[in-house]
Amino acid sequence: MIIAGREFSSRLIIGTGKYRSYEQMRSAHEASGAEMVTVAVRRVPLDRSSESFLDYLNPALQILPNTAGCYTAEDAVRTARLAREALQTDLVKLEVIGDQTTLFPDNEQTLEAARILVKEGFVVLPYFNDDLIMAKTLLDAGCAAIMPLAAPIGSGLGVQNPANLRIMREQLPDATMIVDAGVGTASDAAIAMELGADGVLMNTAIAEAEDPAKMATAMKLAIEAGRLAYVAGRMPKKLYASASSPLTGVIR
């Protein structure tokens, strides 16, 4: 998977939230084989000394700061700038949320933030609705990849609109497309990959599994399997049966 010229051998990007313990998070990260993890930016608590959450991450992991929790382009841009200053990375997973119940993205604010951040030299990875026209607009604005949702964040519903992902893949063959949000279990990740995604980003599906490390392994294998199936090229679907054995020479 290539993001802005940087190659990652794992096609899985995972989150760092909702785990029951740091140990559990670490073992899930390790099992997933992911090389990139996403983290959120928040105010430092002033009333207690807090240890650095980042110390619990394997230092070999690429950290991808996100703008989760932002509802305006302005807040997302401020958050991205702070993250870059603290981490010395130009990567940012841009999220501008439009609604609390669905956590659907505000495409207009997302685009506005993307334009500003690209101009400032950020490698922008935007979360957006699974819409081809928005995907094209974000790429034209200079985003390094497109990150369409599969289903609402944290819903675990799986790919709700496979046709849209397939259309985006076919119409934007050169874009790096990472399915972001909505995956619930391994088969969902495999489907996203079979539709031609270059990678999948997930958090809840692993963190809220009963055994996160096992689910992380399952996701890793599903993503590999789905990718192979996509590259292999599936057989066409047919309505009726087609015998696999020769029709001649059957005993009578």
Partner: protein, 68 residues
Amino acid sequence: MKVYVNGEARNFNGTPSLAELIEQLNLPVARIAIELNREVVRRSDWGSTMLKDEDRIEIVHFVGGGKN
């Protein structure tokens, strides 16, 4: 002098620099970032950035999170 740190009003004697503010608040300095009146202040400038009355400071760090 009164400034707002992460939305909370805080009183300080004199005019501390950002670096002194961090020290007085007893915050860990590794991998945090600071915004003064909505503009990021680079780490190398913390010592030379003097605070003024009514300044608004945001100090952030990183937490576990995937989405929202």
